[in-house]
Symmetry: C3
Subunit: 351 residues, 3 copies
Amino acid sequence: MGTRLGALVERLGGQLVGDANLEVTGIAPLTDAGVSHISFLSNSKLRAQAAQSKAAALIVSAADDAFIAAGYSGARIVVPNPYVYFARAAQYFASLTAIVPAAGVHATAVVAETAQVAASAHIGPRVVIEDGAVIEDGAVIGAGCFIGREAVIGAETQLFANVTFHAYCQIGKRGIIHSGAVIGTDGFGFANEGGVYIKIPQTGRVMIGDDVDIGANTTIDRGALADTIIEDGVKLDNQIQIGHNCHIGAHTAMAGCVGVAGSAKIGKYCTFGGAAMVLGHLTIVDKVHVGSGSMVSRSILEPGQYTGFYPLAKNADWEKSAVIVRNLSAMRDKIRALEKIIKTKSEEDES
Amino acid sequence: MGTRLGALVERLGGQLVGDANLEVTGIAPLTDAGVSHISFLSNSKLRAQAAQSKAAALIVSAADDAFIAAGYSGARIVVPNPYVYFARAAQYFASLTAIVPAAGVHATAVVAETAQVAASAHIGPRVVIEDGAVIEDGAVIGAGCFIGREAVIGAETQLFANVTFHAYCQIGKRGIIHSGAVIGTDGFGFANEGGVYIKIPQTGRVMIGDDVDIGANTTIDRGALADTIIEDGVKLDNQIQIGHNCHIGAHTAMAGCVGVAGSAKIGKYCTFGGAAMVLGHLTIVDKVHVGSGSMVSRSILEPGQYTGFYPLAKNADWEKSAVIVRNLSAMRDKIRALEKIIKTKSEEDES
Amino acid sequence: MGTRLGALVERLGGQLVGDANLEVTGIAPLTDAGVSHISFLSNSKLRAQAAQSKAAALIVSAADDAFIAAGYSGARIVVPNPYVYFARAAQYFASLTAIVPAAGVHATAVVAETAQVAASAHIGPRVVIEDGAVIEDGAVIGAGCFIGREAVIGAETQLFANVTFHAYCQIGKRGIIHSGAVIGTDGFGFANEGGVYIKIPQTGRVMIGDDVDIGANTTIDRGALADTIIEDGVKLDNQIQIGHNCHIGAHTAMAGCVGVAGSAKIGKYCTFGGAAMVLGHLTIVDKVHVGSGSMVSRSILEPGQYTGFYPLAKNADWEKSAVIVRNLSAMRDKIRALEKIIKTKSEEDES
């Protein structure tokens, strides 16, 4: 199964240089592509590699095309952003072989009578849907998912197997929630009375916008009194923890293992590298980029790239530097003492 | 649905200044509270905000009451610890609307004949309970939970949907385990024979006390030979990992993403910030507080607040400081050389 | 239930000094062992403790045996590697009481007609197995597991309750996957178009070798175009995240909470301490050992032990050192200034 280049360009745009009737069966990286594949050049450093690719066709920018056109004998699809075009082409090829879950409710699913399930939705085996929950058109609920009371799953949103989506929470349209994710668990809220913790009921919700992806085993706490908010287009990788009452702005992306403590307010178009951590009650403005393994312990009020992790070293070298880091104030004191001695000496010399 | 202030004070204590017949419907933060809400002042910095709150009544300490009484026209409930009172009041309001799962075993649950399930317990859809397990009075086992052989779930303990609770492990009374948590998985124990790992069977249990809360997707390993112990009142947030044979003292709390390696012994009344890590076989005494993102690599034998994470900076600044950190011993050597030169010079000058 | 020492040595090897007819019922640590237990001495520092153990028999190296033989009155099993022998003996004792799940498919399992399930395999309650999946001889699929389309579970591999194993992925023989693990979730791959993320379909698989253990709530992403590879004998603890297209070499072990970003290539016989992190697209050669809480931000091309975490300190001390770390380049400038002054002064003195 595949497509003609002409049909692909008709669907996705781009300027085709080459035979529109050429048949391609899939998409592959430059070095792996065979004669029935298309490939893409999104990094100009790989121009030489691209020119030698066996791919039937290359997705390429105009700037790169000028360089490879002479050496490369296949067809080219010239586009403004080859990586984005690759993504769309890959989506198209994937759609040719995708097995779309059939509409309907599996016989082993347990669906409350008061739940509203669209006729076009797919409810997999062993799913549990509680009272008053709403599953909109074309939504796919994978095997073993739990949907709590009055929760809402938006149109065309897909939950993979074994997702837990708690009562009253909502997700919009075209979202994806991967297996093992837990949405709407209680936030970590206690009052301390003489050392003993008294639980504060968590009565807010998790409200998730459209086009949001949530990774495997990621957890998002429901709000304490108000709601936890995830805006449109947010992309969360696996094993992320979002505390209660957080607000994550649209089109912000977080890599795996990130943790965000409660009531943090994060702007739009931010990125967080893997295992970055954000303390509670902070504000991070739009377009902030936090590096992997970095701890955000104060608000960030200026866009930009921020980092903070201890550099790796051979263990013996790290041990030396770690001892000095522990005693940095002693080092500073020594420098101050030296400065003083030299200053005194200079004054003596001058007098 | 709500309550009269008089009824609330009768139930929870506190000194009411104002109309005992005033009806309130819920609890809300100072700024969000409307005329049918009560609110609370637990942070004296917010006195001015409190005085202007629209809330029908305020929970307040005697010290703060002296300041706001003049400006605030609503009723006040004067108590020793407003935040604790808020927690209890919030529990009360939550109880008014809570939907208590009905006693009984859902038709789709798979319960072994030799399991003992109290008549007052709730066993949700798709639950699996193996041979000899015990579910005590009033326990709630959410949809899709797995309870292994001879495990014990104490009275009034609640497992949310999709918890895995393995064989022989026990949890006491009034606990909460959130979705996706896994209790009693094998510890990470191997003997290495020429590079190849030989598994050491993990035959201990996880023994959990009363009033313990365990967060979503948190994992607690069973002991290797002896047991892993979680004492009364411990509160664990989401995505925490507790290794085999750990012992966590009563009323210790850990925020999300904390990791504790095997055989660590942690005292009572400790707190761990998010993503703090504890190496194996360490001892941490009572009342130790470890900051977020901090690595505990040695035992802590003195109570207090401990921290250790690299401070965040603009990326360019971090790169500069990281290079120097890597070469701190060179910097120390330079300082020593300077000290030596100056010392020599001083001696020359004196001679 | 137990075994005679003679039978044990016949099965596992080792030189028995003592009564072959002595019956032992289990294995225990030196200090806990009673008169019906065997114990082991794998750390020479514990020789004195071993000599006083109540154990009926001790597993011991020849070197240690020379020291304890005089003081210890029980039997000894002298072996080259007591810890490995302990592991094998513990496996043997565990096998005596192990409850082996019966072959067959539970009535509540949902198994596709086109799936191939070996007659000797155990399929627990509530399991879902999709079209074309293969469950080989003696495999054990715990309650509530999900096995996707055309996935392969190798012979004698055990999945504990509530594992999610996605379509087309494969695991070899004698593996263990613990509860809550998710294998073959989509990798985190997007193209960014003007701030908005376009999903790149993840069409690769996860291919796992023989004798691989995967911990509770660990997640392994499927490849984007090519596959994610986990070689034979790899041991992964709980809550580990492995990104798409990673390649992990044989007999590498990772402790809990480790994260590996996409396309990292890790060698054989490596170890990673808890919460270590590896950035994407890096290469780590064989026999590299990364300490807990360390961030690997560049390729490691030389075997050895590497570390990088900020040392813990009392909070007040950390605050001092953190301020200086932030301003290390200012400190370096001061030292340079001092060096210059002294150099100038020396030149003046000499002139």
